[in-house]
Amino acid sequence: MSSQRKTANILDRPLSKGKSEVNISTFAFLFSELVHYARTRVKQQTNNELHDKLADFGKHVGSRLVDVLFLRERSYKRETKLLNVLLFIKSNLWKSLFGKEADGLEKDNEEDNIYYVTEKEPLVNKFVSLNTDHAKETYNVNCAAFISGIIEEVLNCCNFVSLNKILNMYYLLNALFLHFLHYSASKGYFPLASRNSISNNI
């Protein structure tokens, strides 16, 4: 775009292989500042509001990640079947972000359209003390809202409407399970009218 730019245009440069790694602390510190900043931008200081803000950051990451991942790992082919996208999230996305697969992918027993990705120890919560008080239903901010934002946007980019909220979190044998509501629509799951031709060209 700019004529005097000496460095190669970003589109002319090869896409990295995504194997670079950085110290987990660097991310933890950056993320910590992000949470602080998000807190200064919410009006009512409620956790839900803060979760939405964190999810917005996640969406920004998700929308970029979806391009990178499908291009790099699926040679431009996007998924159109919900289950495949969910599996993609559980394995590929999780692996490239967190170096491991998500702990589980479960379908809700009653609701057809609800899926849960479970993660015992989400990276972003690793260093946060979650002082859960079940009686009062108060708890500290759940930073995994950031991850749910990523997932939501990945699903959106694959043309699935997703209503993606952290439903609840609770302790079970000291392990923290996070449940993400993945997809919710009244009649079955199906891709919406295509916004992006790539997804139909499989």
Partner: protein, 153 residues
């Protein structure tokens, strides 16, 4: 046997205090105790450096009385870890405090977005991890260890 632990920031605020096997309580308030401890180690440190016959390098590291030993570890950033133990304690306690700094303090206080650096640490996770760390040390004290773990169970 480990008696207690103080952690101070560089301006002298006590960020954390916990005692394990302390049998006799001090006769002043907690706040006063924190202040006295900080003031004493601060003065001792500068005194030790002043009278040092050679370049002090690390300087003040510990003192002992007939009943207990006090260990002092300061990071280059001015955080101070102070631990009192009995006289039978084995091993390098300053190294233990460095490990505590590295594996507990940095991990669960410094990296916690909810944790402010110049205020007492409120994080439950931090105190849990710290307790866990101290109690698994061989120096912690066997009798107390079994007693405590049976309470936990």
């Amino acid at each position: 046997m480990i008696f207690n632990l103080y952690i101070y920031d560089r301006s002298g605020t006590c960020l954390f205090y916990h005692e394990w096997n302390r049998q006799k309580q001090v006769d002043v308030s907690r706040e006063e105790d924190f202040k006295l401890m900080y003031g004493m180690t601060f003065s001792l440190k500068s005194f030790c450096n002043r009278i040092s016959p050679t370049d002090p390098n690390i300087g003040f590291t510990s003192f002992k009385t007939s009943q207990y030993k006090l260990h002092f570890y300061e990071t280059p950033s001015g955080l101070k870890f102070i631990m009192t133990t009995d006289l039978q304690i084995q091993g390098d306690i300053r190294f233990l405090m460095h490990t505590l700094y590295k594996d507990v303090f940095v991990e669960y206080a410094i990296r916690d977005p909810e944790c402010e650096l110049n205020k007492p640490i409120k994080s439950k996770l931090f105190s849990e991890k710290l307790n866990e760390f101290i109690q698994k040390q061989p120096q912690f004290g066997n009798i107390a260890q079994t007693a405590l773990s049976s309470i936990v169970k």
